[in-house]
């Protein structure tokens, strides 16, 4: 018989084997293990952060972030597709920019969505109403100039509005100050999520705003969840995380990925390639021969080889 036929179908001996009993045993074993592990170790649940919590715990970081939303320099505002129109912002995968291909499918206007529209809903504050009126009556260029001026002055003042140098900021200090108050009262969480609707299941806007600041990141890094901490593999506390993501996160730890602006595109492009290779192992010369050279199979089938090679030795 040729080797190919031998590999396809077995014509040798069989033994009794109870598959259904094996399955039931496996089910019982897994159930018991699961019940036991869950009882002993439980599961993690580190509480979510609200914008209220963020703005109360770290008002300077909140204000600084809000200033970058208003002058469109935040991470979200300068992201490009799928949130904003800026083809130059896309990550490059060699010569191509797949980030741009779908276009802006989830439009986010940080100025209006994150700052102005939530403030419009705040009732009975004459100072705010006047500030909004001034804002509305001004050209976009002037608004931008005020916002940028205040942003950099705030940075110089380490996020403390009381220490901001005097300058021409228009209604911006009032707008941002009121946004901080709105956030601290808990009103901004709802406003960012609902955006005028009643039911909502899409948290894109509050999450983008949250992630533009450093509060969320600080909390995450404290739990070793940061990108350069192999964070993709980790879970909060001492719980096991996702060890199967080891190769995905590995690339982010080493050059050239760790220092590249295009890290995400490069890593995901590389992983798509390696994933294709993994799926197609049977067709990859060299890789598909590895098991033969590594010889672990000799251990798995040792009884079979003993009986076959033993009997051949007897014959010869």
């Amino acid at each position: 018989m040729s080797r190919a036929v031998h590999e396809e179908s077995w014509v040798g001996g069989y033994r009794d084997y109870d598959l259904v009993k094996e399955f039931v045993a496996a089910l019982v074993a897994v159930t018991l293990l699961t019940v036991g592990l869950a009882f002993v170790f439980g599961s993690p649940d580190v509480h979510q952060i609200t914008l209220a919590q963020w703005s109360n715990a770290s008002p300077s970081d909140f204000l600084a972030t809000a200033a970058t939303e208003l002058d469109r320099t935040s991470g979200s505002a300068t992201y490009g597709a799928p949130y904003t129109h800026d083809p130059s912002a896309a990550q490059k995968l060699g010569p191509i920019t797949p980030q741009n291909w779908p276009g802006v499918t989830k439009p986010v206007d940080t100025v209006n969505d994150f700052v102005v529209m939530p403030l419009r809903a705040v009732p009975g504050d004459t100072q705010l109403t006047q500030a909004l009126g001034t804002w509305d009556a001004t050209s976009p260029g002037q608004r931008d100039s005020w916002a940028k001026g205040y942003d950099s002055a705030l940075q110089t003042a380490s996020g403390d509005p009381a220490k901001v140098a005097s300058g021409s900021y228009g209604p911006v200090p009032v707008l941002l100050g009121q946004l901080l108050r709105l956030a601290q009262s808990g009103g901004l969480d709802g406003a960012l999520l609902e955006q005028g609707r009643f039911y909502m299941t899409d948290y894109t806007k509050p999450l983008l705003f949250l992630a533009d600041g450093t509060y969320l990141e600080d909390k995450a890094r404290a739990e070793h969840l940061g990108g350069d901490q192999w964070g993709m593999m980790n879970e909060t506390g001492n719980y096991p995380g996702q060890p199967w993501l080891w190769l995905y996160t590995f690339w982010y730890q080493v050059k050239p990925f760790s220092t590249s602006d295009n890290a995400d595109a490069l890593v995901w492009g590389l992983m798509m390639l390696l994933t294709a290779g993994f799926v197609l192992v049977p067709f990859l010369p060299g890789i598909r021969s590895l098991p033969r050279y590594l010889r672990v199979y000799r251990l798995i089938w040792r009884d079979y080889y003993r009986s076959v090679e033993g009997s051949r030795q007897l014959r010869s």
Partner: protein
């Protein structure tokens, strides 16, 4: 010939009952390493069952109820076991070069199961509605957005991610597992690599 009788006859031809559910295995199937496939399937069923328990009371239950939290723990650990058994099974199949003898599709369906499971676990983390979810979603979006996928698969959209997690992905995995097991039954368990020089046993 009707469609019905064609489907029935082809099915029975491909999978006669004693091939679909044999009560014998080749003599070389005699290692504990062979139980990891069935352990993976058993774990998958426990994952589905515990997930279903969570579905009964909805996604917020585990934050506000001790029983809910325990059920969440059941779901987490059944997933850890599922992934662990699957990977050990994968290691075994690699070292056996189990794709030999026209079994490439068995390997491929297995690999797809593995990848789909990673994706399903990922969406599970996203719908926990805690700090993990907030961080994982805002980080993962960068990877997905950079290759254009994030424009359609929005990890910050809780509703979308929950439906992928409890409906689309488990169904896909279930179908692929079924194909995978049927392929194993069709081709039989892969025979050992040839014995030492000397040819056939």
């Amino acid at each position: 010939m009707s469609w019905t009788s064609t489907v029935r006859d082809r099915s029975v031809e491909a999978f006669p009952p004693d091939r679909l559910l044999p009560d014998q295995q080749p003599v070389y199937v005699a290692s504990w390493i062979y139980v990891f496939g069935v352990l993976t399937i058993a774990s998958f069923l426990v994952v589905l069952a515990t997930g279903s328990l969570l579905a009964i009371k909805g996604p917020m239950w585990w934050h506000t109820s001790d029983l809910g939290h325990y059920v969440n723990s059941l779901h987490l650990w059944s997933v850890e076991l599922f992934m662990a058994f699957m990977v050990v099974h994968l290691w075994a199949k690699f070292f056996m070069a189990a794709w030999r003898g026209r079994r490439a599709m068995t390997w491929i369906t297995g690999a797809v199961c593995f990848l789909a499971s990673i994706g399903t676990a990922f969406t599970g983390y996203l719908v926990q509605q805690n700090l993990d979810s907030q961080w994982i979603s805002t980080q993962a979006k960068d990877g997905l957005d950079s290759v254009g996928v994030g424009a359609y698969f929005n990890v910050m959209d809780f509703g979308q991610m929950l439906m992928w997690h409890i409906a689309l992905l488990p169904a896909a995995i279930g179908v692929v597992i079924l194909l995978h097991v049927l392929l194993v039954r069709r081709r039989g368990v892969v025979p050992p690599l040839p014995a030492r020089a000397g040819g056939d046993p």
